[in-house]
């Protein structure tokens, strides 16, 4: 076991896959010298050369579109978009091309690419650098959507995303780049897509969350346990496909579901999970997510957007009252 950051773990996972499979390569802005915005590509250009870690022009449409073509052409590209906000410059290539090629062409095409686009609030980068649009992509048939929440998972899930034969939208959280955790370097196995992790066992209520919000949910759960309230916390890790079995099993046990995410609540993926659980189990469900506002710059405004642990705890108490 060694301790490493979320960014370092992703770098390790990529390096392992690039060593294992010579068709894996990455393209994006400032990957070589800079090594990516958080060092998640550090020194990989030195090891693999500049035709496998490619510094591109500022041309998001072509970063994404070229990845689609390169995937059809027999390689496994990783399109690095830096911020999910800039990936919006290339949504067409992702949604109209990558996601649909296999289906439209009757199974002739496969698009094994990873579109890497970090989400979330990092502190003071405002409306065009802080968004969490993961729900958009869950709505698109053909895409896999992954939101790693810990260093070990950022390694293991990136590995399986690279190995996946369908296009994966891989959404790291910018606020987690520096998060440290234990990673077992000797175990090169990938973490399977579509499998949730139970972060904390509990009896009274299930909270489903993902990405950086899981940490806040865990704080709330710890606080509630002091009051004798036992919360089960599930990190979905993959949003599509989501681990229906794990969620249904947990809610069948606890009898109540709260879904919490940093993304805007309206149209958020929490609504999908809550609806599925309510339809299948007929238990009380609730959601907490951001107000439907752009992310503001100033500290008190940005803080007002966030879903803090006290709000989560209060919602749980209400649901159990």
């Amino acid at each position: 076991m060694s301790e490493m950051t979320y960014a370092q773990a992703a770098r390790l996972g990529l390096q392992e896959e690039m060593r294992r499979d010579p068709t894996v390569w990455a393209l994006g802005e400032d990957l070589g010298y800079e090594g990516g915005m958080a060092g998640q590509y550090s020194d990989l250009q030195a090891e693999f050369g500049d035709d496998r870690i490619v510094d591109t022009p500022i041309s998001e449409s072509t970063i994404m579109g070229a990845a689609v073509g390169a995937a059809m052409g027999g390689t496994r590209p990783i399109a690095e978009l830096r911020f999910s906000d800039f990936a919006m410059c290339a949504v067409d290539e992702l949604v109209n091309q990558a996601a649909k090629a296999r289906y439209m062409f009757g199974g002739q095409a496969r698009v094994p690419m990873v579109a890497r686009m970090p989400i979330g609030i990092r502190g003071g980068v405002a409306a065009q650098h802080s968004q969490s649009p993961e729900a958009w992509y869950t709505h698109v048939p053909g895409l896999v959507v992954v939101t790693p929440g810990t260093p070990a998972e950022n390694r293991g899930l990136l590995k399986s995303s690279i190995r996946c034969d369908d296009p994966v939208v891989y959404m790291e959280h910018k606020g987690l780049w520096g998060m440290t955790g234990q990673v077992d370097e000797s175990d090169q196995s990938a973490i399977p897509l579509g499998v949730a992790r139970t972060v904390r066992d509990g009896r009274d209520i299930t909270i489903v969350s993902w990405s950086a919000q899981v940490g806040v949910v865990s704080e709330a759960a710890a606080a509630l346990s002091g009051e004798g309230i036992s919360v089960e916390v599930i990190d979905l890790r993959t949003l599509w496909p989501w681990d229906r079995e794990a969620v249904m099993a947990s809610v069948s046990k606890t009898g109540k579901l709260l879904v919490v995410h940093e993304a805007v609540r309206v149209g958020g993926f929490g609504g999908e999970i809550a609806a599925e659980v309510a339809e299948e189990l007929g238990v009380p469900v609730a959601r907490l997510g951001g107000e439907r506002i752009p992310i503001p710059f100033s500290i008190p405004l940005e803080e007002a957007y966030k879903i803090k642990s006290d709000r989560i705890a209060a919602r749980v108490r209400e649901m159990l009252a």
Binding site: Y33, I58, D85, A127, Q128, H129, R292, I299, P300, Y305
Partner: protein
């Protein structure tokens, strides 16, 4: 008709002072970023001041301007209030957007400054749209779009050039070519004969000038702006320059050759304009006095920003939209 600037030291002094304001503003922004008073990212315009100032000196208040991530200099040159801008960088009440936008979203619509932008090249397409509005409304405003040399590799730049020419719109594209985009040398990722050639391929007239030469910028802008206002259709100015600092305040620019930035100091615009002023009637004392005055002014703005109030959290929920807006906490009754 090009003015003979050599005969107008008073005009040069006015522009010089604006350059000093931008420089002092950017130095203060960097210092306060490192001091932890400003969050996020601060892209300084240090070393490129002559471009914004020389261009904007030839614009009217009601002309429009769109900018990019490096927008502080453009905003000040267009007439935005540097005090309100500093308050915005601090996220305080009284900022240009009362703290909602921050450094990358400085805007002052009262002086035609339609916004800095966090997304590269999005200003290009907004500019042609603003120009279409100008045309529809029968106005004689023009629109200026500032774009970097890295930004020209995004599709919207090419689309906007084509569009502006097809509809013969009053747009001036100003490409600030500092030869670098973040840590990438743009030459290595840019094919063809460069920015001017791209414009010319759309029959958009393009001229390349030394952007650090205030006189070249001022006289070129004077001619081009009046041609555009008189119906020439879109044009492009490529202003060669050098980014004296890192991409943003927390970038040490370690990817550069040693000594490069130091060597570039010789060509930086404030020093060059200062020498000209000294040869043309201003004394060193007068110049130093101007510098001290500007510094004191900016220091005052920083103090104001430190003392200004934080916005009430309820402000986060206003100005989203009219129908279907979120409920503003405390405003239910």
């Amino acid at each position: 008709m090009a003015r003979n600037l050599a005969n107008e030291p008073a005009r040069v002094a006015v522009m010089f002072r604006k350059m000093l304001v931008i420089r002092a503003f950017e130095e203060a922004a960097g210092e306060n970023f490192f001091a932890g008073h400003i969050r996020g990212s601060v892209h300084q315009y240090i070393g490129e001041e002559s471009i914004a100032v020389g261009i904007c000196e030839n614009l009217r208040d009601d002309d429009y301007l769109t900018s990019n991530h490096r927008g502080h200099g453009h905003s000040i040159a267009k007439g935005a209030d540097p005090r309100a801008m500093m308050l915005e960088l601090f996220g305080k009440v009284g900022g240009t957007s009362n703290g909602k936008g921050g450094s990358m979203h400085i805007a002052d619509f009262s002086v035609g400054m339609l916004g800095a932008n966090g997304v590269i090249a999005d200003g290009c397409t907004i500019s042609v749209g603003a120009a279409q509005a100008v045309k529809l409304l029968g106005q004689d405003r023009i629109v200026v779009n500032f774009i970097g040399d890295g930004g020209i590799n995004r599709g919207p730049f090419m689309e906007a050039l084509n569009w502006a020419k097809v509809y013969e719109l009053p747009v001036l594209f100003v490409c600030e070519n500092n030869q670098i985009a973040a840590s990438t040398t743009t030459r290595l990722v840019t094919a063809g004969g460069g920015i001017a050639k791209r414009a010319e391929s759309f029959d958009v007239p393009a001229i390349t000038i030394d952007g650090n030469d205030l006189f070249a910028v001022d006289s070129t802008a004077g001619r081009v702006v009046s041609e555009i206002r008189n119906g020439s259709g879109p044009q492009l100015i490529q202003a060669m320059t050098y980014r004296l600092r890192g991409h943003f305040a927390h970038d040490d620019a370690g990817y550069r050759d040693a000594g490069e930035a130091e060597a570039a100091l010789e060509h930086e615009p404030i020093r060059r304009t200062e020498s000209w002023l000294l040869e043309n009637g201003l004394s060193q004392d007068e110049i130093d006095g101007m510098r001290d005055e500007v510094k004191a002014e900016i220091t005052g703005f920083v103090e104001d920003a430190e003392q200004a109030d934080w916005p009430d959290p309820s402000l986060a929920f206003t100005d989203v939209q009219d129908v279907g807006a979120p409920i503003v906490p405390g405003a239910e009754q």
